[in-house]
Symmetry: D2
Subunit: 137 residues, 4 copies
């Protein structure tokens, strides 16, 4: 499962080095997840509305080249794996052909009370889609 979005670097995202501050890549990754889930027919806001939250439990990113204000960024987002209690996404940010950064985030599934929930039980139709796509570990 892969998705692609494009957007421009905001001035507010840059820092005194005149490049995008490293923390903002994670905000971009989140946009990538939002759109990938939408394409998969499963909006994240609907998950939340159904009481399934998916907070981040791990983030990592390697920065290869700097993005600048107004650069047109292409972000590729991939759903790497789904397990019973968590899932992981991979990301690659490009300016044209040039790879700027690549990262990964891992998320668990919890309910409104903050307790871990099994996606298989809480959202069996999502689990089935994932299973069919070979994403279930």
């Amino acid at each position: 499962m892969q998705g692609k979005i494009q957007f421009r670097v905001r001035y507010a995202e840059t820092d005194a080095m005149a490049v995008v501050h490293h923390a903002n890549y994670y905000v971009w990754f989140e946009m990538g997840r939002t759109e990938l889930l939408r394409e998969m027919g499963m909006e994240y806001k609907s998950l939340e509305a159904q009481g399934i939250l998916s907070p981040v439990i791990e983030t990592q990113c390697r920065y290869i080249s700097s993005a600048k204000y107004d650069d047109l960024i292409t972000l590729e987002t991939e759903l790497i794996i789904v397990e019973r209690l968590k899932w992981a996404f991979g990301y690659r940010a490009f300016r044209g052909e040039e790879l700027l950064a690549e990262g990964k985030t891992v998320h668990c599934f919890i309910n409104r009370e903050g307790r871990p929930i099994s996606v298989k039980k809480a959202k069996p139709e999502l689990y089935e889609i994932m299973l069919a796509k070979g994403l279930i570990k």
Copy 2:
């Protein structure tokens, strides 16, 4: 009612002009409000816990001089006025003696459902404090 806080400019708060991005002053103002309310014996998180939310309905700021990374900022926050349905705060940010910016925010009172509430009814003890201090219009 006045309060004063000091903090250092974070690198992430700067932008490609190598100065603090203008939107971040409002984040500082919010820190000022948090500490002023604490000093007044009325933590904002307690208000929220009691079901009184106070979202922003107006913001304004004039920028006189630029703040830079690692500058030591002094922020003065003042509770200007309390009305039945809203209150207003004023702010002045300094680096040493130099005035960097001055702003104002206005906030209403709502409950968890988003309906306006009268602070006089919802939080009479707060109203009494304000009245005694001559802050009630």
Copy 3:
């Protein structure tokens, strides 16, 4: 001179009230300026590359209704006026037909050394365009 952009609310732009934090509207306004200037044939990054910076000297915003995560926002940006040493932009953010916020920003013109410059001298072609459009006060 008017422009219009559309974008989705990012999760990172929301706060604990589950609505967009008020400071982020100014970041959106900046995106609106970037695109309006591009449409006018005058990219802001080109201005900066030519040594003309235009920092914010005043901001203001009225918040009418709350934006939520994943809302599709339409932002209208208007160049209100150009004077010799500054210019002003107006903004209105909508979700569908519903007005969420309206704001204004004022910006001066400075060079790399931070000194005020006259746009008429520094960028006469910009000045001429503005004059022809009746934007010069």
Copy 4:
């Protein structure tokens, strides 16, 4: 080399889950670095003033528990290792005794033109301090 700072969670740092957005931990880590370097007698802004920039090339973080608005956070920052062309820092964020997150960042050394520089050549006194402390790999 270790340092410790304390600060309160800002409202703007929270998101619609009512906890601190994961990207903001990296902003906190940066504050930790700033203060650790200051304690080591080597302010980061002085490094930049001398033409030594140290952009981030890798970030990673594990999130164990959530921080909320107004929580008092203790952040421990450690300089883990210095190599000829890069250095790495480790971080642990606590609320009281409770570990919230632990992370790591790796930074290279570059000059104003963006070229890698050897800290040993560019800043021998820093290199000597590190060597004496057994931080040089």
